[in-house]
Amino acid sequence: MTITDTSSAAPTVRKLSSLQLASRYGTMLALLLLILFNLAMTPNFLSWQTVNVNLTQVAAIVIVATGMTLVIATGGIDLSVGSLMAISGAVAPMIFLDTLVPIADPVLAVALAFVLPILVTMAFGWFNGMLVTRYAIQPIVATLVLFIAGRGIAQVITNGNLQVFKNPGFQFIAMGQIAGIPAQVALMLVVAAAAFAVMRYTMFGRQVLAVGGNEKAARLAGIPVRRIKILVYVISGALAGLAGLVVVARNSASDANLVGLGMELDAIAAVAVGGSLLSGGRANIIGTLLGALVIQLVRYTLLANGVPDAAALVVKAGLIVLAVYVQQRADRS
């Protein structure tokens, strides 16, 4: 029996190493530096239009990445989000274009176009959750199923056709303005704020972190581990569905081949750069928001200064490596 002296040890006062500081505030710092750099170098950076362009570009990513943050907090991952966007993006126009069934009341049609696609993607999220919990399939494999099949489903629904439309009621979600703020940006902020509140103040948020932090301990404390996991995939599905609506509304067109393409990786990147551990147990919603902004702003900065998009991708990859490196080092120290 080893006897370690414990009770007499004075409570340690926490000191943050520079690495821990970097991991905590690094994303914020990177964002500030990028803004400063642009103020100095990029012409017309400080204009309403530039801000709008960047924020609308980032809105869909943030909405999806918020759901991804919750999934990752339980120690999972959701690769299906891009494909689910394609599905909701395909279903919504079919409703208000009367492709499915004629709906007499245009207001009802628009309302259904918001609600039904999201219910559909929630059902797919539930399917992901069932694979992960009941059938104990690794999340990366389980969600790969819909990553592959989901886009196929969207294409089958639409016969692979491009749907073009003009419907101000539906497109308010992307084109409209609320108190001078673009509606999709407002939506993004509402989603992020709600998720932040859920993680911070609710029992559900606490249980998500416990499941990701130590699943065995969570189960022993009576937490319904399966239900929590299924729920985060349902939420992720719902938010992916919402983001799909935003994207097609913004484009006035829905192409099942393109909606949400590569979104899963952008969302994961935002979460990683934002400082949530990919191994679970932490959910930094504000970090995810900042992470998405940093990635977007880097791309914008390079483009605005004449660097081609291809090179921007390399820089994005570098950012992710750096963020993950800083986190891991900070965790070990």
Binding site: T6, A9, M203, N214, K216
Partner: protein, 497 residues
Amino acid sequence: MLLSIQNLSKSFAGVAALRGASLEMADGEIMALVGQNGAGKSTLIKILTGAYRLDEGQISFAGRDVSFSSPAESQKAGIATIYQEINLAAQRSVAENIYLGREPRRFGFLDHRGMREGARQVLQDFKLDIDVTRPVAHFNAATRQMVAIARSVTQQAKLLIMDEPTSSLDEREVAVLFETIRTLKRSGVGVIFIGHRLDELYALCNRVTIMRDGQTVAVGAMGDMPKMELVRHMLGRELAAFEALGKSADQQAERPLRLELQGAGSGLRVRNVDLTVREGEISGLAGLLGSGRSETARIIFGMDRLERGTMRMSGAGRTYDEPAEAIADGIGLVSEDRKVDGIVPDMSIRENMTLALLPKLRRAGIVDRAREDEIVQRFIKALRIKCASADQPIKELSGGNQQKVLLARWLCTDPKVLIVDEPTRGIDIGAKSEILKLLRSLADEGLSVLMISSELEELLAAADRITVLSDGASVAVLPRQAMSEKALLAAMAHQVD
């Protein structure tokens, strides 16, 4: 002399795991190596297999002084190890596994036929006639053990180390395994056999080496070592006596029963357990390692299914499928391994403490922070948890304080039954007696405590009654007045004769 280990010492970060341990054995000898958790058995084995470097001491093997710096070196010298969790490539065939890493080749290509022939030959020696082309995963645990042994035989091993090889085998499989080991012995191979089922040790081994606290405390021929003696050497007396806290059973007799197991069983580990816990008592659960103590707790708490027998909670029959159901019935469990299934390391003291209480702390889904803070502060004070603040991450606390937080996790739910599995493991003496006193005063207030412990002193001091398990069955119940070290040892050494 096949193997001679003298004066072996090894420390990890200043904590001694081995302090001058020794072990000697001859060719063709089967040596039992026994000791409690933390006695130093695995450290000694790991030095022998080259996984750790020794700090001090001499090892001579097959007449040469050796100091292995890698597992490969140790294997090359002729030492083979078979772990509990057998390390075979499950999806490869039996033949491929036997020759893994040193496949016979012809013209630079794998010689599949040679492998099959060779494998068949070796397995025949053990009277095992199986299809060597099938993946190892298709066979049962005993056969996999045999494959692992066959692998070491083809490596020309002179010493075979087996770490609890029978823990997942049934009786018939154990018999086959022992026959194999005896075959090896006849061919001059020495075997170190680590095990906890005393009957098996007596049936198989020639001699026994007993370790405690990183030292070799006794060596002897198996036949000259009565079971009682062996158990006493293993457990020893560790601490100066705790203050006696238990109550005599006649004071308890009229108390109503709270938790009752009759003929409870699940899987191979728990065969037939009778157990009662009354209101306001500390019921002790004793037994050697592997006797099924923690597994019994797992059944009560709904982690494993009750497959046989009955369980009653306050008189009503119960089976739980999930811990959540047991918790709803007023049962709490502080598990044996804090790190593995106790704390959520990244969460704060506050969040860890209220994890099981959350459903009662919410209002419309939102955690009532004012009430939470009030409860957490109360328990930090009551249990004297030393911390900078309630929001400090729990991983920064010492073992004793972490344990108090985990106790508080259940106490704040106001449970009827609290199961504590090794409640004082890995914490210092001061905190130990503090936790025992706490359990006692909780019991006096009406809580039923089921205390699982390997430490005799602790059980003798705190328990009102002790149930002793051996090989998955309850073999004795000692009331307070019949409790003594001797009685307890005798009961623990009991084996089904």
